[in-house]
């Protein structure tokens, strides 16, 4: 067997006029984790897709295990020993977990699929990544996080020499991220060359041996990690020598500062969203109160019921009891349009299935619910639409800021900005904004910009914001107050100076006691 | 082979008593989308009722496969007498044989099979020939044997092929000086209209349109009118086959729709009931021949008679 390592030379790829990759070099020796960073749309996923055979590069070579290729098909890539976890999940919903893990590489006996062997192997792999689903579950019925873990198990199932992970933890909470990190460390000691794409600098610090930062399709920075500060990395990613944006928790001081400013804001104001005795299949009863202009976080482990609470508030699922008030009005949302009529909006967690319209333009994606309110006498106000879009794309740092480009051609983080933009643009007023994992996949710079937009919605328009997040950094940066969710109930609350990452982590740990967190699924 | 054979076969295989009494007759007419179908079922049901027989029908929707399926069902269920218009004669031979073997009466409609008890004959070829000859005669008299003709034809089913052949052969034989400018597949008015319009765009001086059905010819009739031809133009001839109501009305009104080779539905309906009864009664020559006649401008009484049957 040849020395397993990965060497990419002068890789280039353009889409129409856009140069997504422009002569990128990347070398990953065996036994090393190489972090690949960069702003949204920098070209990270494009590089990985070239490596995985999703499309051919325009120029450059890819050398895997000593053999050089100018282009790879997916099959060649797999055969060369490359295993990839793509950013947009490539699982097949109607197949089972085991079938997905071994898709294209089935275990056969007498030319038929050896189901039992596959399921046994899959169970082992799932355990290794701390997934709570069963090999026989249908992937389409699993929540986002579990699907992500299936994808990881699929990559691990291949005896690969190169492992590539494109934002694997974007949909995972702390516990699963930790389990994954351990796996990655294991694999590193086994001698794999690992490319790890992420926007979370904490992960870089924990895992990476070396780091490459892409900016606009070029290598902007390359170094060994040791001896670098977060500030330098952020600078390389954002491309500006500017001070660390406030609220980006580089240490305890920033956290304290945010907490302090939040508590300073916390002048008691009229409640905007009041949820009382709220129950639904798998959660409740819960009591939630969000005041005008207040931003409240929901923090918990995967499967704790946050998505269910938000979706039920929005009318996407049926509540079995309790009352919801927006201001003084009682709201019974049987369907999303009822909730929207009452001023409640939701940014769902599953971007691909619940949020994005891939064939439609960026502007249509961002403004879909805004088109009718903007229209005059039933005719669309095209100029006003463009203006709102331009303002929005500046506010969230959309790249490229091209209104007519179809959403499918945007990078993952930019797609998330489009979906978010649907409810945080200037023209669409909502009283209560529900956000489920609002910044998954969004880069450090844009993340800050989004926090600012949300904060100003709250402070200037009095919007009540209730958001779920698996990232403690995000909760600390954005929330005035945080509710701890565990097994469908609210088990604690942190606010003011108590609201720190450490407190959040220990709160969920207490709530669960041990690490068993399997909750019977679609009960 | 002679129809008599079929009867004797049937009787040999059937019940011992020679004079069977029929209670049920199955009429299998596949072209359910044609206006004739409704008329025929109605008149046959009435005729059958008079003879204390009930009439069953199939619903073949012009599909040869469905027809085969439905006939097989009837044979399996031993419907005592089946009158069938085979869309594909060859394909029906085996079923007819099975019917006879099962002791049923099989009457072929519109042709004859090797295995049958009797048949109801009318020659499609003759219908086409009548129309072709009449049109050729008119062309020779009114156009001096010169001019242009377009045929709206059908080559998908046997009936259509025979009508087409009769019509074209007779016309070209008797009016060899007339240019044949088009032979286009068309059996319904829509297609007749658009094909004729296209032909007229190239040959605005077209004189004759002859159709394998009245429906198609009616489309041609309208196409000519829409290119500015007056409804009574003396140098134009449209003719079709079937005796469909809109065409008969146009003929009656003295337009340039001048002829239709028509079958009388009442004659057919009578035959549908009488021929199987005759077979059951052991008559010597049970088969029937239904006449096809050409109706033209003078035949007002006949047209009224035909229109009266179309109720």
């Amino acid at each position: 067997m040849t020395d397993p390592n990965l060497r990419i030379r002068g890789l280039a790829k353009s889409f129409g006029g856009v140069r997504a990759l422009d002569g990128v070099d990347l070398t990953v020796p065996a036994g090393q984790v190489h972090a690949l960073l960069g702003h949204n749309g920098a070209g990270k996923s494009t590089l990985i897709k070239c490596l995985g055979g999703a499309f051919p590069p325009d120029a450059g070579t890819i050398e895997v295990g000593g053999r050089s290729h100018t282009r790879l098909s997916p099959r060649e890539s797999i055969a060369a020993g490359v295993a990839i976890i793509f950013q947009t999940l490539s699982v097949v919903d109607s197949l089972t977990v085991a079938e997905n893990i071994f898709l294209g590489q089935e275990w056969t006996r007498y030319a038929t699929v050896h189901r039992r062997a596959q399921e046994e192997l899959a169970a082992g792999l799932l355990e290794r990544v701390a997934a709570s689903c069963s090999p026989r579950d249908r992937v389409g019925e699993l929540p986002m996080g579990q699907r992500q873990l299936v994808e990881i198990a699929k990559a691990l199932s291949r005896s690969a020499s190169v492992l590539v992970l494109d934002e694997p933890t974007a949909a995972l909470s702390g516990a699963e991220s930790d389990a994954l990190a351990e796996r990655v460390e294991d694999l590193r000691t086994q001698g794999l060359a690992i490319v790890y794409v992420t926007h979370l600098l904490a992960e870089v610090e924990r895992l990476a041996d070396a780091v490459t930062v892409l900016r606009d399709g070029r290598v902007a920075h390359h170094s060994r990690v040791a001896g670098h500060t977060r500030r330098e990395l952020v600078e390389a990613i954002v491309g500006r020598p500017e001070p660390l944006p406030h609220g980006l928790p580089a240490g305890a001081s920033a956290t304290e500062q945010t907490a302090a400013s939040a508590s300073a804001d916390a002048v008691p104001r009229a409640p905007r969203l009041t949820v009382h005795g709220f129950r639904g299949p798998g959660f409740g009863p819960v009591e939630i109160e969000v005041a005008e202009g207040e931003i409240v976080g929901l923090y918990g482990l995967i499967g704790s019921g946050r998505t269910r609470i938000l979706e039920t508030l929005f009318g996407r699922r049926r509540a079995s009891g309790g009352t919801v008030r927006v201001g003084e009005r009682a709201v019974t949302a049987a369907r999303p349009s009822d909730a929207l009529a009452a001023g409640i909006a939701l940014v769902p967690a599953d971007r691909r299935r619940q949020g994005l319209f891939p064939l439609l333009s960026a502007q249509d994606n961002a403004l879909l619910p805004t088109i009718r309110p903007l229209a005059r006498r039933g005719v669309r106000a095209l100029f006003a639409e463009r203006r709102v879009f331009d303002t929005l794309s500046r506010a969230v740092g959309l790249r490229p800021a091209r209104p007519r480009l179809s959403a499918a051609a945007f990078s993952g983080g930019n797609q998330q900005k489009l979906v978010l933009g649907r409810w945080i643009n200037e023209a669409r007023r909502v009283d209560v904004l529900l956000l489920d994992e609002p910044t998954q996949g969004v880069d450090v710079g844009a993340r800050q910009e989004i926090y600012e937009v949300v904060s100003s919605l709250a402070s200037q328009r009095g919007t009540a914001v209730l958001f779920a997040s698996s990232d403690p950094e995000e909760v600390v940066a954005l929330a005035h107050r945080c509710l701890i969710v565990s097994q469908g109930r609210i088990t604690g609350e942190l606010s003011g100076a108590q609201l720190t990452e450490a407190a959040l982590l220990s709160a969920v740990h207490e709530a669960y006691g041990t690490t068993t967190m399997y909750s019977e699924g679609a009960a | 082979s002679a129809p008599g054979d079929g009867v004797s076969t049937a009787e040999a295989a059937g019940e011992p008593d020679t004079s069977r009494t029929l209670t049920k007759i199955g009429l299998d007419y596949p072209f359910t989308q044609l206006p004739l179908y409704a008329t025929l079922v109605k008149l046959s049901t009435a005729a059958a009722k008079q003879r204390d027989v009930s009439l069953l029908t199939t619903s073949d929707a012009s599909s040869a496969d469905t027809q085969a399926t439905n006939l097989t069902t009837w044979v399996t269920q031993k419907v005592p007498a089946i009158v069938s218009f085979p869309m594909v004669f060859e394909a029906t031979e085996a079923i007819a044989k099975r019917a006879l073997d099962a002791g049923l009466i099989w009457v072929t409609y519109g042709g004859s099979l090797e295995h049958q008890s009797a048949d109801i004959q009318f020659s499609f070829l003759k219908g086409g020939t009548l129309l072709g000859e009449a049109a050729a005669k008119w062309a020779n008299e009114e156009l001096g044997g010169k001019g242009k003709v377009a045929f709206l034809t059908d080559s998908t089913i046997q009936l259509g092929r025979e009508r087409t052949k009769g019509m074209i052969d007779a016309f070209t034989k008797h009016a060899p000086g007339v240019d044949v400018v088009a032979q286009e597949q068309a059996i319904d008015p829509d297609t007749g209209l658009s094909k004729s319009r296209a032909v007229l765009a190239k040959h605005p001086d077209l004189n004759l349109i002859l159709g394998v059905t009245d429906a198609a010819a009616y489309g041609g009739f309208k196409a000519l009118q829409q290119t500015g031809r007056k409804a009574t133009d003396a140098k134009t001839f449209v003719g079709g086959q079937d005796g469909a109501a809109p065409s008969l009305l146009a003929i009656k009104q003295g337009t340039f729709y001048r002829a239709s080779a028509a079958l009388a539905p009442q004659d057919i309906a009578n035959a549908v009931v009488e021929v199987p009864l005759a077979v059951a009664a052991g008559k010597a020559k049970p088969s029937a021949q239904v006449p096809i006649t050409l109706v033209g401008h003078g035949d007002t009484a006949r047209i009224d008679d035909l229109l009266a049957q179309n109720v």
Binding site: S406 | L193, S194
Partner: protein, 332 residues
């Protein structure tokens, strides 16, 4: 209109240069333009009479009924549904109009309104079954195709004809030198294009077709909008039936509009509307309709024998699809 009709397009600053660029990109998005132009050229060279005004008028009148139904059907397909029952609805509409005008001696307006009401009813039944009950549009509308044809033949077993000169106006009159059906078709096309480009509901049609779940979560009426499109498609089919009845001055329940559903659907799909929903344009539909109309007419003009005509038609469909699909496709 060109850019405005296409899915994700609109124009904020229409400078002449931008328009020229728009024209070019329209061409690239609709390679059927080129195919159509080529076909017209070949037919003209081969027959010498293809481009005669009389012939063009014939093509336009034929294409008119097709276009009238193709536009709402395209919207329906874009929103992820399908209507196969239009052939029978067309027949029923024509029969009702003809019966009212001819046998009941009603005014042409009443006759047409009666037909439209019947079309709306058929469309509403389709819409309730497909949108509100969520049944498979293919099977439901195929069932309706059969059932409505049965109803039409049961109600009107005999051909209807002679609807009077008033009713003939609908199919035969000329408005500014253009046949009434062509004028109606033009209005329908423009209305469809404006609807898609300029109204919020037009965007919603696309959104529902691309991602129903996401549309639902955006508060869009994911049932009401396609339901309305079903009704409009039924109305359009009945209108086309009334026009055809007027042009032919006769209707036959069994054969009127038989196979029409497949022709319309072919025009729509050739025009670049995806059967899976979510993309398409009215300009494309127009091209698809013209493609079919010119093909049929040209082959007749050339007097190609029947069976060769069938082969040519089949091949042309494939070629049309090939050229229409190769243009804007990515490599994979």
């Amino acid at each position: 209109m060109t850019t405005a009709t296409t899915a994700p397009a609109r124009r904020p600053t229409p400078s002449p240069r931008a328009l020229a660029r728009g024209g070019l990109s329209t061409l690239r998005r609709h390679p059927l333009f080129v195919v159509l132009a080529l076909m017209v050229l070949v037919f003209q060279l081969a027959t010498g009479s293809f481009l005669d005004p009389g012939n063009l008028r014939g093509i336009a009148t034929d294409a008119a009924t097709l276009a009238i139904v193709a536009v709402p059907l395209a919207l329906l397909v874009i929103s992820g549904y399908l209507d196969l029952s239009v052939g029978s609805t067309l027949a029923l509409g024509g029969l009702v109009a003809g019966w009212l005008a001819g046998q009941q001696h009603q005014s042409p307006a009443v006759a047409v309104l009666g037909a439209l009401a019947v079309g709306a009813t058929v469309g509403a039944v389709n819409g309730i079954l497909c949108c509100y009950l969520g049944l498979s549009a293919f099977i439901v509308t195929l069932g309706m195709l059969t059932a409505v044809r049965g109803v039409a033949q049961q109600l009107f077993p005999l051909p209807l004809s002679s609807f009077g000169s008033g009713f003939a106006w609908l199919g035969g009159s000329r408005i500014a030198g253009i046949d009434a059906p062509v004028v109606i078709a033009a209005l329908v096309l423009v209305a469809g294009a404006l609807f898609l480009a300029l109204t919020p509901s037009g965007r919603h049609v696309f959104a529902i077709g691309v991602n129903r779940e996401a549309a639902y979560l955006s508060g869009i009426h994911i049932r009401r909008t396609p339901f309305a499109l079903f009704v409009v498609t039924g109305v359009a089919a009945a209108l086309a039936g009334a026009i055809k009845a007027s042009v032919l001055d006769s209707v036959v329940a069994g054969t009127s509009g038989a196979g029409f559903e497949l022709t319309v659907l072919t025009a729509v799909l050739l025009g670049g509307v995806a059967l899976t929903g979510g993309s398409g344009s009215i300009l494309g539909v127009l091209l698809g309709v013209l493609f079919l109309g010119c093909l049929q007419n040209g082959l007749t003009l050339l007097s190609v024998p029947t069976f060769w005509q069938q082969m040519a038609q089949g091949t042309a469909l494939v070629a049309g699809a090939a050229l229409a699909y190769f243009g804007p496709r990515l490599t994979r």
